[in-house]
Structure formats: C-alpha cells, structure tokens
C-alpha cells in the first residue's frame, strides 16, 4: 500500500513493522549508547537495558499479532505490557513508561493518523514524567517531552502522519544535543545522555521505515528497510540493510561457553563473509547476529564453534509475514538458558550447601570451581546476570541449600531476589568482586550448617580489600579524579581512586591505598589481555616496593580488567 499518495493512516501491520524498525535501529546503536555511560569504566548498560526492554515489548506485540490482533490500540497495549514485564534497569523502566503512555494515548483505535500520534507522544511524555518526584532535565525525559511538543506543533498544521513523525524526530534530536547544557555530569564527561540517544534511535528507526516503505505496508521484521529515502544520520544503517530479500533472515545470539570471552572482531568478520546485509553487534560477552543467507546452517555451524547459541530465529524471507510472527514467539519461549553453565558434582553425594557464583574469565571460573562452586553463572561488570539466570543456576543444582556469591556490587540485589523465588534455602553472601568471592569460598566448611557457613563467609569478605585496574573509556572527572581516555585507572571496592601513567603506577597507587604495608598477601589476577611473562615482570617490580608483602600471580582471564587484586 505504499503506492498510496500520502501516508495518512497507520494500521496495525504498519505499526508492528515501524516498531520492529525502531527496535532494529536501537539494536544497531546499543553499543554506542552503552559507550555514552558517564562513569569512565567499561560498564555498559543503558543501550543493553533499553534494547532488552524493547525486545520484550516487541515479542509481546508479535505474539499478539500472530494471534490475530490487528488494531493499533490493542497492539500498543501489548507493547506496553511486554515492556513493563521485561523492563531492565532504570532506562528500561523509563522506556516502559513511555510505551505505556504511548499506548494509552493511542486509545483503542484500529488505525491512527498524525494528530493521534502527537497525542500519543504527549501522553508518553506525561506518563514518563508522572513516575518520578523530581524529574531530572537533560535525560530521556527531556528528549521525549520535546519530541512530543514538536509533534503537537506539527499536528496543529495537519493530520498527515509523516510530517508529525519527522517533527518528533527533529525535536528529539535537538533536545538530545542540548542534554549536556542541562546536566553537568554529561558536560563533564563530554557526552550526550545515553537514554536520550536511545529514544532518538527508536524514533529514527520508525521514521526510516515510514519513509522507506510507507506505514501501511505490512511487512517483515528487519528486511524491508531499504529502498527508501535516506534520513541524515541513517546512511550507515541503509548500507548494512540492503534490498536483497532472498534466502533466509537468520538471527542468533552467541554467548560465552564456560565463561570464555568471545573474540568479537574475528567472529564478526567470519560471519559477515557468510551472508548479505549482515549486522553483527556485541562484545566479549554477547554477540547478536542478523544476516541474510541462502544457507542458514552455515551461519549456525560457524556460530556454535565460538560459544553457546540462544534466541535462534530463521525466517524464510519469501514467506516473511507468517514466519516473522511465529519466529519471534518461538524465540521468546526459549529464554536465555544458554547464558548459564552449571555442572553438578558427579559423585552424587550431596553434603552441605551448594555454591552458585557469578564470574567471567576462564581463570577466575576455574579458581571458583576449584574451591567448590558447582554452579557458575557467566556475567560481571558489563553484563549483569538476571534474576532468572541466577534462579536457573540455583534450581539446576542438587541439594536444598545454596549459597549465592554475586561477586559484583551490581549483582548483589539481583541475587537477593532469588531467595524468595525458589523452594530451596538460599543465602546470599554479598561478595563485591571475584577476589572477595574466592576469599569467602576459602572459608566454606561443607560440614557446617548453611547459616553458620554464610556467617563465616560474610566475615571472610570483610578482611579482603579488592582492587581493579582497567582503562578509562573516555576523559572525565569523577569524584575529583581526572582521567583521560585510555588512561590506566584503579578502583578500590568499586570506587575510582587513582589514575596513573602506567598499569604499574596504578597498581602501586592502589597498594598504597589498601594499607599494603601492613597486609600479608596480595593476589593479582591477570586479565585476558596480560601475558604470563608480563604478569611475572609486574610482580617483580611491585615486590621491589613491597619487599615484605607476599604477592601471588593467578591467571584470571577476565575481560576489560588487566588486573584484579585482593589484599588481605
């Protein structure tokens, strides 16, 4: 129906396709959005959280569409419900409120035009603002509000859909560009707001689709994005999503196998060579693949060589419409089982509590296993495991008593949620780092009762200071410490305390701040990027400064962090 002269009304199929395009564009920018996070360590969240929320929302929409829901109002209601249930992180919760308001503003209509779109955006903005006592300007709230205002201004001139959508996008972009003026922390870090960028990416995707195909066209998920007029910043997107629509649209997610980091650049290169229109995004801990190919088997065979596969979806683009709906439904039913690797002790005799620990990095995982952790959930600084993943790991173990070691400050609260969700007795020992978790495990007594163990393990945590060495991902001043992009930085108990001229300088700075002079033992866990020789040389030079300190070098294999260190 793109042959109609003007796109005056959007129907249900058009809405689904526009939302898919919005989600696809968010996905494409998720990494960049993660990189906008203000805190200068590789701690990417906003893009991922918004994307996971949007994907849950889209899955609900496709499920409804495949059951015959066609009205835009009904579909939007499903979108809002899915976003709410699947919301992740602060930005995800805000996005879910935006979508909830959007759905409410749309009402129960079968189709909608420009005026209704503006009303829906206005309600999206109002709903988002209502759920916080002191809205902070310069965030995604500002971006959706200005987008709504621009849309309403345009809608006052006429009910045509495209100009209103374009106006909303223009307003959103302008507001995003102003976010550093409104928020000092953005100005200090030299970035625009990450959540605001997410809102812009969603609107951009929808607008791109609307210009390319016409809103009334019922279409498949990601394929029909080509052929349209380019929208300013979207040139790259068009390059990667061409017009070829033959073969199979193959989507799959690769997750690390047994915690081994994924060599992203190599995987990306190999997979892109196997098909057309490929989009491969991710990092060492998760890679998403969208690729058009005549032979989906080859993609899967290559992908499974590197890690565990999840959310596999293959659509024959010739039969797009049916395949899309069913495919998405199927994908949501197979939730992220593969992110977890749990082994059960083979002897079968269960005495005492079982241990589930969160870690990434082969060496760290091996160390935890060696100390008796039977279940390992992969995760850490850049990819916090969900409650569900932890719950699965707990349920997968034999025995009725489980001790959970989150090993990350951000995972402790998630871990605590597991306690109420299982019939097993679960105690969370709040370890904030893998070295702390290892210290806690060392105190484990398999013959002791659960509570007694939890208490001694928690006590063991207290005697360990944990420090980390990584690199700043951008220039910023955080808590009075000025860092420049790429500079080695040191954290103690998750707080940035030191920026140095070299990794050695940072380690010395950290040792000076952990009372190393009076400590007995420092353990250095070298990261995936540090060779054993380099690690040994580092220990030797540290030893010169601290002759009385016992310094141990352990292969950690963790991504992002050159060294983790515990001082006790």
């Amino acid at each position: 129906m793109s042959s109609e002269p003007t796109h005056t009304l959007c129907d249900g199929a058009g809405l689904v396709a526009a939302l898919d395009a919005a989600g696809a564009n968010l996905e494409r920018h998720a990494e960049a959005i993660n990189a906008l996070n203000v805190f200068p360590v590789p701690d990417g969240d906003t893009g991922k959280n918004m994307l996971l929320t949007m994907q849950a929302a889209l899955a609900a929409v496709h499920a409804a569409a495949s059951e015959g829901t066609t009205g835009t109002g009904d579909l939007a209601a499903k979108l809002a419900r899915g976003a709410m249930m699947g919301s992740r992180g602060n930005s995800g919760v805000i996005l879910s409120q935006i979508l909830r308001g959007f759905a409410r503003g749309l009402g129960g209509e079968e189709r909608f035009g420009g005026l209704a779109l503006a009303t829906a955006l206005r309600e999206a903005s109002a709903t988002a603002y209502r759920a916080v006592q002191q809205p902070v300007e310069g965030t995604m709230l500002t971006v959706i509000r200005v987008a709504a205002e621009a849309a309403e201004e345009e809608a006052a001139r006429g009910d045509a859909l495209l100009p209103v959508l374009d106006a909303a996008l223009g307003g959103a972009r302008a507001a995003l560009a102003r976010t550093p003026e409104l928020l000092a922390r953005l100005r200090e870090a030299g970035v625009v707001d990450a959540g605001g960028q997410g809102v812009v990416s969603l609107l951009e995707g929808a607008a791109l689709f609307a210009h390319g195909e016409g809103l009334a066209a019922s279409a498949g998920v990601v394929a029909p994005l080509g052929g349209g007029r380019e929208l300013g910043t979207m040139a790259g997107f068009l390059d990667e999503h061409g017009e070829d629509e033959v073969g199979y649209c193959t989507n799959v997610m690769i997750l690390p196998r047994e915690g081994r980091p994924l060599p992203f650049p190599e995987i990306r290169e190999r997979l892109l060579a196997l098909g057309e229109s490929g989009v491969v995004v991710g990092d060492e801990e998760i890679i998403k693949i969208h690729i058009h190919t005549e032979n989906p088997g080859a993609i899967l065979s290559e992908a499974v060589r590197w890690g565990e596969l999840d959310q596999i979806r293959i659509d024959n683009m010739t039969y797009q419409v049916q395949a899309v709906a069913e495919g998405v439904q199927g994908a949501t039913a197979t939730a992220p089982a593969a992110t977890m690797t749990a082994t059960d002790p083979s002897d079968g005799a269960i005495t005492g509590p079982q241990i589930v620990a969160v870690a990434s990095g082969a060496g760290l995982i091996a160390a935890l296993r060696g100390l008796g952790a039977a279940g390992i959930v992969s995760g850490g600084q850049t990819m916090n495991p969900s409650t569900e993943e932890l719950l699965r790991a707990v349920e997968a173990l034999p025995g009725d008593e489980v001790i959970l070691l989150p090993n990350n400050g951000n995972v402790i609260l998630t871990a605590r949620q597991v306690v109420g969700l299982t019939s097993k007795r679960v105690v969370v020992v709040p370890s904030r780092s893998v070295p702390q978790g290892i210290a806690a495990l060392s105190a484990l007594n398999f013959d002791a009762a659960l509570d007694e163990n939890a208490a001694t393990m928690a006590e063991a945590l207290g005697g360990v200071r944990s420090a980390e060495v990584t690199y700043a991902v951008r220039s910023a001043t955080i808590e009075g410490v000025a860092v420049t992009e790429g500079q080695p930085i040191g954290l103690i108990d998750d707080r940035l305390v030191y920026a140095g001229s070299s990794v050695e300088d940072v380690l010395l700075g950290l040792l000076a701040r952990t009372d190393a002079a009076s400590a007995e033992l420092a353990t250095l866990y070298r990261g995936a990027d540090v060779t054993e020789e380099a690690g040994r040389a580092m220990v030797e030079s540290l030893q010169v400064h601290y002759p009385d300190l016992a310094i141990e070098l352990v292969e950690g294999g963790q991504p992002h962090y050159d060294y983790l260190m515990s001082v006790e």
């Binding site: 709410m84 249930m85 919301s87 992180g89 919760v93 879910s96 916080v132 006592q133 002191q134 609260l413």
Partner: protein, 129 residues
C-alpha cells in the same frame, strides 16, 4: 568507639567525624526524589528496631537508618507509580541510594531494604493505592 546505633563515625588523623542518622536520611531522601518510579514515601510501619518515626511532613519520613559497627543499613518505605515493574524499580532505588550515601559519606552502606508500601494510580486511572 562509636555509640552503637546512634551515629556513624569516621576517624582521621586530626579527629573524628560524627554523622547523625538524620543527615544520612536526608542524603537518601535526595536520591529518592530523583529515583524513577518512586512517587512518595510511607510511614515506616512496624519494622521492629528499625522503626524511626518522623512527623508527617518530614522529608525523611519513610526512611530508617541503622548504624552499627561503622556499617550503615537503610530501610525505605516507598510508594511507587502504578504500572512500573516493581522489582526493577526497587533494585534501581537500592543502587542509587547506596551510591549517593556512600559517595557523600565515604562510608559503607551494607544494605538498602526497600518496602513497597503502596502504589499510586495517576489521575486518569480510577482507584487509589
């Protein structure tokens, strides 16, 4: 030695600093005001020793602070906007309150407990939580 439960102390080379629980509650309140999904505070209710009653109009209403052995535990009684995913908002609140207090005081917050005492329905939806 600090008096258990009354104040948080941090000793330095030139003396010691005492921070009252009310001051800690004020910092938590600031973080809560900007916490997405939280639209109000509720009286603490019967939470045993944690209860820290405040006047109706006190900005620290619904915030209980416990200090023990230089470790801070904060208990929040909040009202959330209807329609948000409660577990996720609660986690976000825990994170931001802990961050704000630790940043301001340089002391460890060992736990932030969130009790969701009610939900608030916005004007356009009938009913009151």
């Amino acid at each position: 030695m600090l008096r258990r439960g009354r104040v948080a102390t941090a000793s330095g080379a030139t003396g010691k600093v005492e921070i009252s629980r009310a001051a800690i509650a004020s910092i938590a309140h600031g973080a809560l005001m900007e916490s997405y999904g939280v639209v109000g505070m509720a009286p603490s209710g019967l939470r045993g020793n944690l209860a820290y009653y405040l006047r109706q109009d006190d900005p620290r209403r619904g915030i209980a602070v416990e200090v023990s052995d230089e470790q801070i535990t904060i208990t929040l009684s909040v009202i959330l906007e209807y329609g948000v995913r409660i577990s996720e908002v609660a986690q976000n609140v825990m994170g931001s309150v802990k961050f704000a207090v630790e940043r301001a005081l340089g002391m460890k917050v060992v736990a932030v407990n969130v009790y969701v005492q009610g939900l608030h329905f916005s004007d356009d939806v009938k009913g009151k939580g």
